[in-house]
Symmetry: C2
Subunit: 180 residues, 2 copies
């Protein structure tokens, strides 16, 4: 797990992958699968939509911290499994054989098996819309990992995998933020 | 362009594609390229992050309407082109050879060349975060279109195309909303 500049963290979320979000409630760590995320700025600002229907929400609201972990295609069944059981009665790190690594800035753990991790603080909760606003405070990327293709949830039980990549950096140069 | 059930509209946004958003200011139509979107519910509820830095924002705020149009891989250079010029001095429908079709519920136009279109009303603007909250009121999908692969912006000037699809409907059955 290598340090990633916070100015690049939004490029992990902008393509719209399904992500894992870890929390720690003071006693236990938990993980949720989330697709409802949004980049809100180039400075590692993100939004999630979640609420009381999600067991992790209480820990997220109380601790005001979480980690966004980015899984890859080889983790598809783990991602679906995490999304279809509850931290209420399941230790998901144990059940899915995942390794919790301590974060530097927040109490929620990183997931070692993921391609990337972003430690986040909750800066606001827009309660009328169930929007949790996050600011990344540290980011990591596993450069040694061979599988880098992300997963995209369609929402109907199917998932699409990253395919080919196209480069339009020249056309977009004037629009790209510094440090990307 | 065939009608799509509103209960399925979120499946167009959940995989995180780059989208085109049209507005109409009473005189002219405009288009912006946006990657900062989020699903907020199964009932065609969405968020965008945008603000005064975007020429379309004034029309979006004043009309409280827009259309989210979903482009595909064959439209990559159109998507990048729309994102790198401004409605201030450019008629983007004309410049990019796009066909504006009238919406049924809103004044903003559909884009005929896109795979899908969602007519939306602005239900709220969370000004402190530049979050525009939308509700889909009609949706369309071009079933006859052969190219269906969506584009995902990385944010660094590169774009990733939809690859293989995996089916996990059985595992997820209990979690899927009705009508999907």
């Amino acid at each position: 797990m290598h340090k990633l500049a916070l100015s690049k963290a939004f490029t992990l979320i902008e393509p719209g992958p399904v992500v894992l979000v870890t929390t720690h409630d003071g006693t236990k760590s938990n993980i949720m699968t989330i697709s409802w995320t949004m980049v809100m700025g180039f400075g590692a600002e993100f939004a999630l939509t979640t609420g009381a229907w999600n067991h992790s929400y209480a820990a997220l609201r109380a601790s005001r911290e979480c980690v966004i972990a980015i899984p890859t295609i080889d983790m598809l069944d783990t991602v679906v499994g995490i999304g279809t059981c509850s931290g209420r009665d399941t230790d998901k790190f144990q059940k899915f054989g995942l390794t919790a690594l301590p974060g530097k800035e927040v109490g929620a753990p990183l997931i070692k098996e993921c391609l990337a991790n972003i430690e986040c603080r909750v800066t606001d909760i827009v309660t009328r819309h169930n929007i949790v606003v996050l600011e990344g405070v540290a980011a990591y990327y596993d450069r040694a990992r061979r599988e880098k293709r992300l997963l995209h949830a369609v929402g109907d039980g199917t998932f699409i995998v990253d395919g080919r990549k196209f480069d339009r950096r020249k056309m977009m140069r004037a629009k790209l933020p510094p440090g990307v």
